[in-house]
C-alpha cells in the first residue's frame, strides 16, 4: 500500500503551493490518475482522509479524475482504447504500441477558500 507515501508527497506539494500563493485553507485538490499509473484511486482517497489531518488541506476534498488507457499503434498509427494489461491496437491487433494516455499521476489544480469580503469604502 504505497498510496499513503504518494499521498504524503501530494500533501507536501499542496502545502508548498499554498505557502507560495499565501492562500488560505485548501477546499479542493484535483488529480488525474491513469489506470496504468500504479496508484489505486480508492486507496488514495482513503489515505488522503488520514494524511490530510492537521495540515493546510485538513478540510479539503480530494477529487480524482480517472484516466482511461489509450494506445497509439506504431504500425498503423490508430489511436484506440485499451485494457491496462492488453495494450494492443484495436484496429490491427499489433502489440507494438505506445501509451498516449492512462499513465498519468498528475496534480491538476488546488482550490482555496475565498478570502473574507473586503469592506467597501463608503
Amino acid at each position: 500500500m504505497h498510496e499513503l507515501a504518494v499521498c504524503q508527497a501530494l500533501l507536501a506539494e499542496v502545502q508548498r503551493v499554498a505557502d507560495a500563493a499565501a492562500a488560505g485553507p485548501v477546499t479542493r485538490v484535483l488529480l488525474r490518475v491513469g489506470a496504468l499509473s500504479g496508484v489505486e484511486p480508492r486507496l488514495l482517497q482513503r489515505a488522503f482522509e488520514v494524511a490530510r489531518a492537521g495540515g493546510v488541506a485538513a478540510d479539503a476534498e480530494l477529487r480524482i479524475e480517472r484516466m482511461p488507457v489509450r494506445v497509439e499503434c506504431l504500425l498503423c498509427h490508430e489511436v484506440s482504447d485499451a485494457a491496462p494489461n492488453r495494450l494492443l491496437c484495436a484496429r490491427c491487433g499489433a502489440w507494438r504500441t505506445r501509451v498516449v494516455a492512462g499513465d498519468e499521476l498528475m496534480l491538476q489544480r488546488i482550490e482555496f477558500r475565498p478570502a473574507p469580503a473586503v469592506p467597501q469604502a463608503a
Binding site: A5, E13, V39
Partner: protein, 252 residues
C-alpha cells in the same frame, strides 16, 4: 498576474475562491532525488540496476551466482531493501562484496531518498555495477524511480505465467524480464515460458525475456551477457542512458 502563484486573486474576484493550476506529477520530489542519484552513479561511471520481483523469486540467489561468475571481471556492490533483517546483506557480504542493508520497517518499497542515504555508505569510486535489490513486491516498487539505469524484473516459474497480465505496471517498467528457477520447469506443468513472454508483449513491450537457474543447475549465461552489454553500453555513452520509467509523462 498569473495562476501559478495566485497573484491574480484580487479584492474584486476573491469571492470566487482562488485556485492554482499545478499540472505536476505527484512524485516530483522522488523523481528529482532519483535524477540526483543517477548523477552520483554517472559521475563515477557506475551502472545501477534495480532488481524487482515478488518475495522469494530468487533475487538474492541470482546476485550470489552473478558475483561468483563475474568477481574477477566487474567490481560490484549491492543495496538491499527489506522490511526487516540484515539476512540478504549478510549473504552478499559472505561473498566478499560490499552490501548496504536498508530496512524499510513497514514501507513496501524503496524510494529515491532511501537509496540516496545508502549511497553515502557506498564507495562508488571503486565500482562498476551497483545492484539495488528492491523490496519483494510486484506493486509498489513500480511507482518509484530510484535513479537506477536499468530495471530488471524476475518472475519465478513457480508463480504463474500470467503475472505480467496481473501486474502490468511493474512489467511495463522492466528493461529485462528474467524467468527464474527454470530448473523446476520439468516438474511443473502449468508454467509456459512462451505464455509469459506473450503476456509481456501484450503490454506493448519488446522487453527481452530470458531464463535463469541458480540452484539444481546453474544457467545464467544469457543474463551475464546482457549485464556485460549493459555495462559496456553505459561506459560508452557520455550522456545518461534513457531510462524506462513507470510513470513517463510526469511533467506534462
Amino acid at each position: 498576474m498569473c495562476d501559478t502563484c495566485g497573484c491574480n486573486v484580487t479584492a474584486g474576484n476573491a469571492h470566487l475562491g482562488p485556485a492554482v493550476e499545478v499540472l505536476q506529477g505527484l512524485l516530483t520530489a522522488n523523481n528529482q532525488q532519483a535524477a540526483h542519484n543517477r548523477e552520483h552513479f554517472d559521475r563515477h561511471g557506475v551502472l545501477a540496476i534495480n532488481l524487482m520481483s515478488s518475495p522469494g523469486a530468487g533475487k538474492t540467489a541470482l546476485l550470489e551466482a552473478t558475483i561468483d561468475a563475474l568477481r574477477d571481471e566487474l567490481r560490484m556492490a549491492v543495496i538491499e531493501g527489506d522490511l526487516e533483517t540484515e539476512n540478504d546483506a549478510q549473504r552478499i557480504r559472505a561473498k566478499g562484496i560490499p552490501a548496504i542493508q536498508i530496512t524499510t520497517g513497514t514501507a513496501c518499497h524503496l524510494d529515491a531518498h532511501l537509496v540516496h542515504d545508502a549511497l553515502h555508505d557506498l564507495p562508488l569510486a571503486g565500482l562498476d555495477v551497483v545492484f539495488i535489490e528492491n523490496v519483494g513486491n510486484l506493486v509498489c516498487p513500480a511507482s518509484f524511480d530510484l535513479g537506477a539505469h536499468r530495471n530488471v524484473a524476475l518472475l519465478s516459474v513457480t508463480e504463474g505465467d500470467d503475472k505480467p497480465a496481473k501486474y502490468p505496471v511493474m512489467f511495463r517498467a522492466a528493461d529485462l524480464v528474467l524467468l527464474s528457477k527454470v530448473d523446476l520447469l520439468d516438474v511443473l506443468d502449468d508454467f509456459d515460458p512462451a505464455r509469459a513472454t506473450a503476456a509481456v508483449r501484450n503490454l506493448g513491450r519488446d522487453t527481452p525475456v530470458m531464463e535463469v537457474a541458480t540452484r539444481r543447475r546453474l544457467a545464467i549465461g544469457p543474463w551475464l551477457a546482457w549485464l556485460r552489454g549493459a555495462v559496456a553500453a553505459h561506459r560508452s555513452t557520455l550522456r545518461p542512458v534513457a531510462v524506462t520509467r513507470p510513470l513517463a509523462p510526469l511533467l506534462a
